[in-house]
């Protein structure tokens, strides 16, 4: 037994660091324990080939909450952007690409679709603003007699009312449905429909026809409220977010230990009282906060035998069906994409020819197979950030969907290579010379991401963002307000409301809740 802390944080992902910093600022003695050498969790820079680095898990920054960036002074702690407000370009084989610009317009479609897009964005922007009201507070419990929750609910209810009749009806209609139907009734251009609907299914185990994908779209576009008009690239890769957050945390007085893997969360008289590390060291604390995903937290760290049956069941039923793999290519030069200028290649490139194509790609994942014709979200960060590769060389990083974490055939070298080939061939359809440029390549399946970044099933969001696992249902009733059925144990990761995406709000909200409860849970 070494010295005691007010709070011990399990995991130094972005939410863990943010939560720890807010707690330290409120005067708590906080220790952060991170299993890996690098801090930041899924916000990681990875040197996958000597001299070549990519953002390994999350590749774009598009929704970091600005209040957090300001409170934690992240700019002065080293967070810089290599590029902001990038375009999203849906690639077409005939080079008639469709572009959603960083200015919020759309190019390459009819005047009618352009106008429809403006109206669509206006509406969605209003809904995202409303969602922000919900994201920045703890999820209200509906039934309990709690004034904080009631006031929060009333504020949100009032926000809904203030949308005005027409937009309110739209919210009620669209809020819970699928992208496919909304796209069909709004736009004509197949590629535009596909590009927009792709945002609703990115990182999700869902196809455009799955109800709830409009929520996924709104979720992904929270950045529009937070000052991002399209994706941004962090200088030095997403790992720089971890570095800046760690600096901010240290400056606030947080103690950080990396390469310190927690083996268990310890209980004394049924209350979390500290943790034990893999190396056998025990650390005691008044509170334990877990940045780890709910399944890891409850099943591996607390242990099922310490939980009530009902909680065990709820943990089991929390779905973590990750379906996104990452492809990394080290390139000898800048690849040429048909119909794109060298300047345009640095934008977000999307390969998703039409909505049916995305849906069929998803069909495979439903049956535990990887997509035979995958859809991709591509970033060539070196266009904006030369430091990620040697002079004149480039790195390409792509999210490839769908690749289920639990592949029926198992993720072996053979299945991995087969999927990697598929992904590279798909890119080569649009960038014919790219194969000759490849110096090195790697594919990280969800199983690899799980191993590298300690997330169950390699799920970015620690658990599906589907309608039955959001807000007061995240991760499940009984743990929805960051406190858990285990006294003294809190959740602050993407498995808690409002979820992942390097937004930081789960960490901030959890800190608020802990401070509000005055340290006793």
């Amino acid at each position: 037994m070494t010295k005691s802390y007010d709070v011990v944080m399990v995991g130094g992902g972005h939410n863990g660091l943010i939560c720890a910093t807010y707690l330290a600022k409120a005067g708590r003695r906080v220790l952060v324990l991170e299993a890996n050498e690098q801090l930041g969790g899924g916000a990681a820079t990875r040197e996958f080939h000597p001299g070549f680095s990519v953002s390994a898990c999350a590749q774009w920054m598009y929704s970091l909450n600005p209040t957090i960036a300001k409170d934690l002074n992240l700019a002065s702690h080293g967070l810089q952007y290599a590029a902001k407000n990038l375009h999203s370009i849906a690639l077409a084989k005939d080079a008639k690409h469709v572009t959603i610009t960083g200015e919020g317009g759309v190019e390459g479609v009819s005047a009618q679709d352009k106008a429809a897009y403006r109206e669509f964005r206006r509406k969605m922007g209003k809904f995202s603003k409303l969602l922000d009201k919900l994201f920045t507070v703890r999820p209200p419990k509906v039934i309990e007699n709690n004034w904080t929750d009631r006031i929060n609910l009333l504020k949100i209810g009032l926000g809904v009312k203030l949308l005005g009749k027409a937009d309110m009806y739209e919210l009620l209609r669209l809020g819970l449905i699928n992208m496919f139907d909304v796209m069909e009734e709004t736009f004509d251009d197949e590629l535009l429909k596909s590009l927009i609907s792709f945002d609703g299914v990115l990182g999700a185990h869902m196809g455009p026809r799955s109800p709830g994908t409009v929520y996924g779209y709104l979720y992904r576009h929270m950045g529009d409220v937070y000052g991002f008009n399209g994706p941004a690239l962090v200088k030095g890769g997403m790992g720089s977010v971890g570095v800046a957050l760690a600096n901010a945390a240290t400056a606030a007085g947080v103690e950080i230990r990396s390469a310190a893997r927690v083996k268990s969360i310890d209980l004394t008289a049924e209350r979390a009282s500290g943790v034990t590390l893999e190396n056998g060291e025990s650390i005691s604390a008044t509170l334990v906060v877990s940045n780890a995903d709910p399944k890891t937290t409850f099943n591996n760290l607390v242990g099922r035998r310490n939980l009530e049956t009902n909680t065990v069941r709820r943990v089991k039923n929390f779905r973590t069906k990750a379906s996104a793999a990452k492809l990394h290519l080290a390139l000898d030069g800048l690849p040429e994409f048909t119909g794109l200028s060298a300047g345009q290649v640095g934008n977000r490139l999307v390969i998703a020819p039409d909505m049916h194509h995305i849906e069929r790609a998803f069909n495979c994942a439903k049956y535990g197979e990887f997509s035979t014709a995958p859809v991709l979200d591509i970033s060539i960060a070196t266009v904006h950030d030369k430091g990620l590769a040697p002079e004149g060389k480039h790195v390409l990083s792509a999210i490839v969907q769908f690749a289920p974490g639990q592949l029926k055939a198992g993720w072996t070298e053979a299945t991995k290579n087969a999927f990697k080939e598929l992904a590279i061939n798909t890119i080569a359809d649009y960038a014919p010379g790219i194969k000759e440029l490849i110096i090195a390549s790697e594919l990280l399946t969800p199983a690899d991401l799980e191993g590298e970044y300690n997330m169950t099933d390699g799920h970015w969001h620690h658990g599906d963002i589907s309608l039955d696992q959001v807000v007061m249902m995240r991760p499940f009733p009984g743990s929805e307000q960051y406190g858990t059925p285990v006294d003294g144990l809190y959740l602050c990761g993407a498995g808690a409301h409002p979820g992942g995406n390097v937004m930081g709000l789960a960490g901030k909200n959890a800190a608020n809740e802990i401070i509000k409860r005055g340290g006793s849970a």
């Binding site: 209609r173 819970l176 049916h356 009733p477």
Partner: protein, 539 residues
């Protein structure tokens, strides 16, 4: 022409229910039906001599008992005979049987999985809790959440209070989870055995253009558990004489209050003058007048078919155009020379009286949906088959049997083009082949068959794109949103015009609640005594 107090367009079960309540309240009501027979999809017709099929809807369970009692339907000839049992055949030659006897049911489940047999108690209790909550709102008019009207705010409070009252019962977070998750995920939470999940999961997709793993389908399952027969919650039964008996009893009740029905009267247009309805014009030029016109047609047909665009706000036209009513089901009715044998089943089993399914895993069900998404009928469809003649012998000549097969999935168009007769026959054959896989003598017993794809359903009954619920049961089209936001209270955009079909809350199934609810709103507008039952009588 004589002027009526109200005209109801369409003699489906909801139109008749609506008309019956209006007539009961003393109104002079005329019902107009385009076909030469009444009932819409609630119908029994003799298309082949001596064979009276229950052609479309085929079992009764959702019909609100309050309405049944209130309109004295049993006195008007409605007899619902509950049936038990049911079976899902497995590809490996085994089967899973669903017994009405509790202990036997437990033993049968345990034969497949002891864990599942134990989980079933919890499952049953949870489903019942959720349906209880929904049932309270079936015979209530949904509030308009955007309105500041006193009545809407009051109804929102009722809703809030009901939720709050659940405090000791279930956590509201859990309720929200049920409403938003997929039936596949829902069942995965309780059961481990594929066959048990498959047997239970079918009700989550019936009539729905969604798969078992599409979020929202758990609600569809609940929707099918909301009924009761003789006070047994969740039970289903056969109506003696087929589903047409429901329509006939409603019609008889309606006529006993002085109502009038005209068949072969196809409405061409709802007439509007100065923003008010004045009556309807038939295709043959006849006009009927009334200050109140109620449409039992689904939303698309109502607004885009029998109303003039110039009488409607742009919003209504836009919403009607985008109203989702894609058909996803087909129906095959088969006349049999005798009772087919199913060698997998023990002799003399009571299971034969219930539903037969041939899909033994959720994966097969989901794949059936993938075909629909691609614009094809399912190559390996989910079929809900019954032999009603085992319970009600009057449905076929002596010694013969009829079989009804409800089929999921069947698209409104084949890969974007219209159905052909050859497509329809291929569809029918797929279903017959599936049954024949489990019954070697089945094919030889077939005398004739009626095959209905969404094309036939639309042509015969007038359900756009053959959607059996008059519009899909997705979140954007439920409760206050049904048929569209701002019009969830049965009133149309023109004064005196109302909607009473399954396009309105609480949606499809032979429930009769939309018709009753619409009647209540009309009587309120007329400042008449509200004689329509409200809320939930039992529990």
């Amino acid at each position: 022409m004589k002027k009526y107090d109200a005209i109801v367009i369409g003699a489906g079960h909801n139109g008749l229910t609506n008309a019956a309540y209006l007539a009961k309240a003393g109104l002079d009501v005329l019902v107009l039906e385009m076909n030469s027979y009444i009932g819409g999809a609630t119908v029994s017709r003799e298309l082949h001599k001596d064979w009276k099929y229950t052609n479309c809807s085929y079992v009764c369970g959702l019909l609100r008992p309050e309405i049944n009692r209130d309109l004295e339907l049993p006195r008007h000839g409605l007899q619902v005979v509950p049936y038990g049992g049911g079976v899902t055949f497995m590809e490996n030659g085994d089967y899973y049987g669903n017994f009405s006897d509790h202990n036997r049911q437990h033993r049968e489940m345990a034969r497949h999985s002891v864990r599942d047999a134990n989980a079933y108690e919890r499952y049953g209790a949870d489903v019942t809790k959720q349906t209880r909550l929904i049932r309270k709102f079936l015979l209530r008019t949904p509030p308009d959440p955007a309105s500041w009207k006193m009545s809407d705010i009051k109804e929102m409070m009722v809703l809030a209070k009901t939720v709050m009252d659940m405090k000791t019962d279930v956590n509201f977070g859990d309720t929200l989870k049920y409403w938003t998750k997929s039936v596949g995920d829902f069942l995965d939470e309780y059961f481990e055995s594929d066959i048990i999940k498959a047997h239970l999961g079918g009700t989550g997709i019936i009539g729905t253009a969604l798969g078992v793993y599409s979020p929202g389908t758990a609600y569809v399952l609940l929707h099918h558990y909301m009924g009761d027969v003789d006070g047994t919650a969740g039970a289903w039964g056969f109506t003696r004489g087929g589903m047409g008996a429901v329509a006939n009893a409603l019609a008889s009740s309606f006529k006993s209050f002085g109502g009038e029905i005209r068949t072969d009267a196809k409405v061409k247009q709802i007439m509007v003058r100065n923003g008010k309805t004045t009556g309807v014009a038939l295709e043959d030029g006849t006009e009927f007048y009334a200050d109140i016109v109620v449409s039992n047609l689904e939303a698309k047909r109502t607004f885009l078919g029998i109303m003039d665009e110039k009488d409607l706000p742009e919003y209504v036209i836009e919403r009607a155009k985008n109203f989702k009513s894609r058909g996803s089901s087909g129906k095959v009715n088969i006349a049999l020379d005798g009772l087919p044998t199913f060698p997998a089943l023990p002799k003399g089993t009571p299971l034969m009286a219930g539903d037969f399914h041939f899909t033994d895993s959720l994966t097969r069900m989901e794949k059936a949906y993938d075909d629909w998404k691609d614009g094809n009928f399912s190559r390996d469809p989910y079929v809900d088959t019954l032999i009603p003649t085992l319970t009600d012998p009057t449905m076929a000549p002596p010694g013969k049997h009829m079989m009804t097969c409800f089929v999921q999935y069947c698209p409104p168009k084949i890969q974007g083009r219209e159905w052909t007769d050859a497509d329809r026959d291929a569809f029918g054959q797929t279903v017959i082949d599936q049954v024949a896989n489990y019954s070697p003598d089945f094919k030889d017993l077939i005398l004739h068959a009626e095959v209905r794809t969404p094309r036939e359903i639309e042509a015969e009954i007038g359900l756009t794109e053959g959607n059996i619920f008059q519009g899909e049961l997705t979140f954007d089209q439920l409760f206050s949103n049904r048929p569209f936001p701002g019009y969830g209270q049965y009133r149309g955009p023109v004064k005196g015009m109302y909607m009473c079909g399954s396009s309105t809350h609480p949606g499809g199934g032979v429930m009769a609640a939309p018709g009753a609810n619409a009647a209540r709103e009309i009587l309120i507008d007329l400042k008449r005594n509200n004689t329509v039952p409200e809320g939930y009588a039992d529990d």
